[in-house]
């Protein structure tokens, strides 16, 4: 092998290492909610017209997740964060844009072609009361994915795997014969996590995994997620609205507003120097234990509906720094000196000063 060829090979390996585990490219998801034919007939300017009503849930989002990191997507209800999670797993198909897993495009695959990727990506849901089938024992819940994806696996192997995972999530493996209703909320969430881990995935998408739990149980589950993440070198895509949880567990944070990314930065940078006006308002609203009420930034008005998106920057109607450019032109994510990516004209032009 000549020297030159070896160099090319090394380069390829390096390139592969630098490829993010998941790459979301300019993704768009709109939902048609116009209903049937009769419902979409509208009376406008003296004549009847057929009109479609679409919810613009996710608009031109670019995001990449590196191996081993925890990326949190935060935002208020209706900002499209859960839709984004579902797009990643192929539960929804995007209207346009690309999703790649380790460099392979996955958003346009058939169900059969998608199978090997499903093993690599698993999801944990918010409500452990709704996400476990009440008529299946823990054993059946956990063995089903194993049997489906590894038809040749022997029963002893399956049982061994189940008890190993149960032990890891802190549920007594002797309880596999029980039904979900026999467990408390925290234990059920542990079982949901076990189901997520049983196929040894690389990426876990967790949609508000601790929101339905009490504070003391929430800490237990967060610790469990962080520990298993370290042990198995997992990558997390964490969807949540709880910003104190985000600060605690994330490597990087992406802030969403009305289906658009406003700011992407490392957790440290985002919480110490938030730049986008929306991020600042959001962070100032977090109640902190033991602090007397600091003045938080008040936003004008309310979140507009994603059916009629504002022109230009989606945040302009509520932003104190908004000017003509913000109304007319959609801001793109710009990289700042701190490494943060911010989509804001005011920040770019240095108008958004403290």
């Amino acid at each position: 092998m000549s020297y030159g060829k070896r160099k090319v090979v090394t380069k390829e390996i390096l390139k592969k290492m630098a490829t993010p585990i998941l790459k979301i490219d300019n993704i768009v998801k709109h939902f048609d909610i116009s209903g049937g034919f009769l419902e979409s007939i509208k009376f406008r300017n003296g004549r009847f017209k057929l009109e479609k009503t679409t919810v613009k849930a996710v608009n031109n989002v670019d995001l990449s997740i590196n191996k081993g990191e925890t990326l949190s997507v935060v935002g208020e209800s209706g900002c499209g964060k859960s839709t984004l999670a579902r797009l990643v797993l192929g539960i929804h198909t995007p209207n346009s844009g690309k999703i790649s897993y380790r460099g392979t495009r996955i958003d346009n695959l058939s169900h059969r072609q998608m199978l090997p990727f499903r093993k690599k990506m698993q999801m944990i849901f918010q409500d452990p009361y709704a996400s476990l089938n009440p008529r299946k024992t823990v054993q059946r819940t956990l063995e089903e994915p194993l049997r489906f994806h590894n038809p040749s696996m022997a029963t002893e192997q399956i049982n061994e795997k189940i008890s190993q995972v149960m032990e890891q999530v802190g549920v007594d493996p002797a309880w596999t014969k029980r039904f979900p209703h026999e467990f408390s909320g925290g234990q059920r969430q542990r079982i949901s996590i076990a189901r997520g881990l049983i196929l040894d995935p690389e990426l876990i998408v967790a949609d508000e995994p601790v929101s339905a739990l009490d504070v003391s149980i929430q800490a237990q589950i967060l610790n469990l997620l962080m520990e298993t993440g370290k042990q198995r070198n997992l990558t997390y895509l964490f969807i949540t609205h709880d910003l104190s949880v985000v600060r605690h567990i994330s490597t990087r944070v992406a802030v969403m507003y009305l289906g658009t990314l406003c700011e992407v930065a490392t957790a440290e940078t985002l919480f110490t120097q938030p730049r986008h006006p929306y991020t600042r308002a959001l962070l100032s609203a977090i109640p902190r234990v033991g602090e007397t009420r600091a003045k938080h930034i008040k936003l004008k008005g309310e979140v507009p509906t994603p059916v009629h998106l504002p022109t230009g920057c989606v945040f302009h109607e509520r932003c104190v720094y908004a000017d003509k450019r913000c109304i007319a032109e959609v801001p793109l994510l710009n990289t700042l000196e701190s490494g943060a990516h911010v989509a804001c004209h005011a920040v770019e032009e240095n108008r958004a000063m403290d």
């Binding site: 208020e76 209800s77 408390s184 925290g186 009490d214 504070v215 003391s216 149980i217 929430q218 800490a219 237990q220 967060l222 610790n223 962080m226 520990e227 609205h241 910003l243 104190s244 949880v245 600060r247 605690h248 567990i249 994330s250 957790a267 440290e268 308002a281 959001l282 100032s284 609203a285 977090i286 109640p287 902190r288 234990v289 033991g290 602090e291 007397t292 009420r293 938080h296 008040k298 936003l299 309310e302 979140v303």
Partner: protein
């Protein structure tokens, strides 16, 4: 001076097919005029039942089995339903968690507000409408005239919660009980609603009982705090003192388990296990199976709520008094 609200040795029981369970045991509370009190605990601790007990709205099979509640010098726990109805919704009003569920979806906001006023005051429709408009302005709702003509589904969650607060204010109550008022709302809206409640209490000298599981919210809004566990008060005192220097191991664990206090990425302090169900409360201290300070006495003797420092009540054998 008499207290605005005094709860004395209150027990609430629920009669079930196989015996009765005690949802609240030996609750003692006082609240002054204009004071803001936080009632904290995990689900099932009995904080909502306490709220309902005050306005005598515990539904069957639950009942107050012992103790009395005095409001403004009058013993309200012994009042007839008829008399209680005059106080509830008038002098004491309640705000509930879910703004989607509290408003009637088939009536306009205006109808619901005027109806509430007319139930408590002899008042004409147009006067009631004026008061309703006044209260809507007070909770900073834009274009209030228009809102009166709207149905609940036309409004956002934050706006609905403001309307519910406006309804709670209609009769100029002296006490508002807010049961998880912001749990269903986003952080930015939560901050606005909490600001609003705090300002209203201060401007109108109203008292507030804030029932929540969110210690951060309580620590920013209230002056006094009561921590509940398995149907009992386990610690109470001034909010900033309890938060800065919790005594009961449960309160300590609860505060330490909140992310944001320790460095990001580090292991959170966790309380092992979970709260016992009310049918299986362990003997002795109810917290003993989860407690890291447990000794023999904790399993045998139930600790009394005692004053361990000035103004600080703690129910724990391991906390040494003054």
């Amino acid at each position: 001076m008499a207290h605005l609200l005094e709860i004395h040795d209150l027990d609430v029981q629920f009669a079930l097919r196989n015996g009765s369970i005690t949802a609240l045991k030996d609750i003692n509370l006082t609240l002054e005029k204009g004071e803001k009190l936080g009632l904290v605990g995990e689900s099932g601790a009995g904080k909502s039942v306490t709220g309902f007990a005050i306005i005598n709205l515990i539904s069957k099979p639950g009942y107050i089995s012992k103790g009395r509640i005095t409001f403004d010098g009058e013993e309200i726990s012994a009042l007839s339903d008829e008399k209680m109805r005059r106080i509830r919704g008038d002098k004491i009003t309640m705000i509930f968690q879910d703004p989607m569920m509290t408003l009637n979806p088939v009536f306009k906001i205006g109808t619901q507000m005027i109806e509430t006023l007319q139930a408590h005051r002899k008042i004409s429709k147009s006067d009631a409408r004026k008061i309703a408009l006044d209260k809507l302005r007070k909770v900073q709702i834009p274009s209030p005239e228009q809102r009166l003509q709207q149905y609940p589904h036309e409004l956002s969650g934050g706006m609905r919660q403001r309307i519910i607060i406006a309804i709670a204010l209609l009769t100029d109550p002296s006490l508002i009980i807010a049961d998880e008022p912001t749990t269903a709302l986003d952080v930015t809206i939560q901050a606005e609603i909490m600001d609003l409640l705090q300002e209203l209490c201060e401007s109108d000298n109203m008292s507030l009982i804030l029932i929540t599981h969110d210690l951060a919210v309580v620590s920013q809004v209230t002056e006094k705090i009561v921590v509940m566990y398995a149907g009992k008060i386990i610690e109470s005192g001034l909010t900033h003192e309890v938060i800065a220097n919790p005594q009961h191991p449960y309160t300590t664990g609860l505060i330490k388990s909140i992310p944001g206090i320790i460095k990001p990425g580090e292991k959170l302090e966790q309380i092992p296990g979970m709260m016992p169900t009310l049918t299986k409360i362990p003997p002795g201290c109810a917290f003993n199976p989860r407690c890291n300070l447990r000794e023999d006495i904790c399993v045998k003797v139930t600790p009394e709520l005692e004053e361990k420092a000035a103004g600080r009540l703690v129910a724990c054998h391991m906390v040494k008094g003054k």
